[in-house]
């Protein structure tokens, strides 16, 4: 048995290297996303934001990490100790394993699997367990209420998100991410955000609600339930929740860019002159540009909109977003069947 395993060790090591090559930029991205959040919201609110640590505050995220690592971990009395420690891991793991199927550039993908979309969606649906367990194991009212709110919200918005995905699958005729991107080839007008505009909006809104971000951050409504499900967590275990939240924000931004904005495709494709001019730009750069836009939109929305009330949130999910997708899926099916150009011809 050992010999058989040893033979496959090189392939295994190669996969491990690839995983590290995805995770380190991702963690750096998370670190600087928190910095960008404080800076962007600062400027929107007429402040400067953190500017003391390093050049213009560039080392602020590392200062935050060091602070969190050296903080004491407090275990609440009569909490379920084992589950209390497992919960952050349960939240972080799904947020990280989903990255296996995400394409970054034409040939830059860890696992180009056929059911890629389904895989990412399945993994992100597990993330709710970490929140539920954290809230329950803390033995705290606020944490419990936060967990229940957050779980109910995630389940509700997962439905509209899934339906929006169905529209994309019908349009692309595949569940493979690379095939979905290639189906949008041609020019900027071929990207799916035009024929699937309602689904694009639904997916975007549900994505924000799914990650429990403002204006849908009722799960951690400070004025009502202190900080929600992670109120009892401190130090590193809190940092893991934080990490998971920002990693899934970046994941949702990647999904939006891949499914609706053509992923790594150049926006100047098919335009004579400009197409050749920008031919040297790697696909990864276009992808990151689109992702950055959605990440900025996350921060922008947070600084702009007041928080939803809980019944408004549920109403939006069940009575507005889901019916919109149910109407638009047959429309997409008809468009595909009739080969309406330029998208489906």
């Amino acid at each position: 048995m050992i010999m058989g395993l040893l033979e496959e060790l090189p392939a295994f090591a190669w996969i491990l290297i690839k995983i590290v090559a995805i995770l380190i930029p991702l963690l750096l991205g998370v670190a600087y996303l928190t910095f960008a959040e404080r800076k962007v919201i600062g400027y929107i609110q007429g402040r400067i934001g953190p500017n003391r640590v390093g050049f213009r505050g560039m080392l602020q995220p590392f200062a935050d990490i060091i602070k969190l690592v050296f903080k004491e971990i407090i275990i609440p009395v009569r909490s379920n100790r084992y589950l209390f420690f497992v919960a952050p891991i349960f939240t972080l793991t799904p947020a990280l394993i989903a990255w296996a199927a995400i394409p970054f550039a034409p040939n830059l993908i860890l696992a180009n699997i056929n059911a890629g979309v389904l895989y990412v969606f399945a993994m992100s649906s597990i993330a709710v367990y970490g929140i539920l367990i954290a809230g329950w194991a803390s033995n705290s009212k606020y944490a419990m209420f936060g967990a229940l709110r957050s779980a109910a919200q995630t389940i509700s918005y997962e439905i509209s998100m899934g339906f929006a995905l169905v529209g994309v699958l019908i349009a692309a005729g595949s569940m493979n991410f690379q095939d979905i991107i290639l189906a949008q080839q041609g020019s900027l007008l071929n990207w799916f955000f035009i024929p699937l505009l309602p689904l694009f909006m639904v997916f975007w809104i549900s994505g924000i609600a799914e990650t429990n971000r403002a204006p849908f951050d009722l799960a951690e409504g400070e004025s009502e339930i202190v900080a929600g499900f992670h109120v009892e967590y401190s130090g590193v275990s809190f940092a893991l929740f934080f990490l998971a939240e920002y990693a899934s924000m970046i994941l949702i931004s990647f999904l939006l860019a891949i499914l609706f904005l053509g992923g790594w495709l150049s926006p100047f494709e098919g335009i004579p002159g400009l197409d050749e001019w920008f031919a040297w730009v790697p696909g990864l750069a276009w992808m990151l540009l689109k992702v950055s836009f959605f990440l900025f939109a996350y921060l922008w929305l947070r600084a702009t909109f007041p928080r939803y009330r809980y019944d408004q949130l549920m109403r939006l999910g069940w009575k507005v977003l889901i019916p919109t997708t149910i109407v638009w899926i047959p429309v997409v099916a008809v468009l595909v069947k009739l080969n309406v150009g330029p998208w489906f011809s």
Binding site: M1, A115, Y119
Partner: protein, 198 residues
Amino acid sequence: MGIIDFIFYVSAALVLGSATVVVTSRNPVRSALALVLTFLASASIWMLAYAEFLALILILVYVGAVMTLFLFVIMMLDIDVVTTRQRFVRYAPLVIAMGVILTGLLLLALKPDYFVFAHLQSAVDYGLSYSNTAELGKILYTEYVLAFEVAAVLLLVAIIAAVSLAHRKPRDCKTQQPVAQMMVDPKQRIRLVKPERK
């Protein structure tokens, strides 16, 4: 023995172990979480059998939706551990009898030689271009279309039944009228008065 076998044995051990914990654990929340682990491990076994669509749907539907709702309910209930433990002992003979009956029925229906190793075939790898999902869709919408439609209608009936059971008429509960709220004219709510100077 390669890595595939290794993954299979690990997940098989996980399935059996966590399924045992589901039944024996005193804490219902722990049982539910063990059931989640059972589903995840069986999904990885299905994945090894090249049934990626079924494996992912198992995670999506059972882990992502069904078990979350289970956990929801269990966490809100205040379950007395001592009485559940007493019941566990009291119902044990019944449970064992049911297990024997179910196993017997299975053996009657499938015949013992169905489980002989020689009859079992290993999963066939059709290569990367083969889409499990597409093949499943083809067979589901041609050969089994009637069964599929019947199941769909049954689910619809269940949804309608659930809604009609849980639905309360607006006069029984206080609900907000979002349209009325949005149509409100400020003049109806606020009266601006200019106080007279003294």
